[in-house]
């Protein structure tokens, strides 16, 4: 088996707007890119049985999740003509209003970036072993389940 280095997708806590700006800025030297599409997941202050979610505490089977993210990224490169594809996901506490997922694809033309970011996002929701404890304002909790 090849000794491929698997990237670590996980970021401790919320993903900051500045991290996103930084990622965008790093692509301005790639002058063959014409289009970027960015998906951001944000934690909602959902009301569940009369209680308000104030944060999600994310945990993951990290070794497996990083492999799954790597496979998703590889599959995206095979399906779409991309220049770049980056994925970041939070672990630990992310408060309502903060960002927990950052998917960023770049391509020469827009259609590929649109398709790829959507594909990657759907794949993450379905396949990445990440778990979310929704913490209410009264410190009780429930477990989030992706639809």
């Amino acid at each position: 088996m090849s000794e491929k280095k698997i990237k670590n997708v996980f970021v401790e806590g919320a993903i900051t707007p500045l991290k996103i700006a930084d990622a965008i800025a790093h692509h301005q030297i790639k002058t063959n890119i014409g289009a970027h599409d960015i998906f951001l997941g944000q934690v909602r202050a959902d009301e569940i049985n009369g209680k308000i979610v104030k944060a999600i505490d994310y945990s993951a089977y990290e070794e497996m999740a990083n492999k799954v993210f790597d496979e998703i990224r590889e599959a995206a490169f095979e399906k779409y003509d991309l220049t770049c594809a980056h994925i970041y996901h939070s672990k630990g506490i992310v408060k309502a209003g903060e960002l927990c997922l950052f998917v960023f694809t770049s391509s020469k033309h827009r259609a590929m970036a649109f398709d790829a970011t959507r594909y990657i996002t759907e794949e993450i929701k379905a396949k990445a072993p990440i778990f979310g404890k929704e913490i209410f304002e009264d410190e009780t909790h429930t477990w989030k389940v992706n639809k």
């Binding site: 492999k67 997922l101 929701k125």
Partner: protein, 78 residues
């Protein structure tokens, strides 16, 4: 057969631990599931899938000594 067993999310919460080494009789995932449900009655009421060595598997998957088996509740990434 000795296995490394990992629990995540609501499963870890229900069982009260995140991992353990277990000596299990039988060599399929299905047999491990029966073993664990006998050991932890709460599993009967929880929804989860199995991964062996970090790959999702079904019940007929055969195990070998020192495999890592994980109980994964519904995903919530994104």
């Amino acid at each position: 057969m000795k296995l490394a067993v990992k629990y995540f999310g609501m499963i870890a919460e229900a069982i009260g631990k995140q991992e353990e080494q277990l000596e299990i009789t039988g060599n399929s995932v299905l047999e491990v599931d029966v073993f664990l449900k006998n050991k932890y009655a709460k599993l009967e009421f929880l929804n989860y899938k199995f991964a062996v060595n970090q790959v999702l598997v079904d019940g007929i998957k055969r195990l070998k000594e020192n495999d890592e088996i994980a109980l994964l509740p519904p995903f919530a990434g994104g």
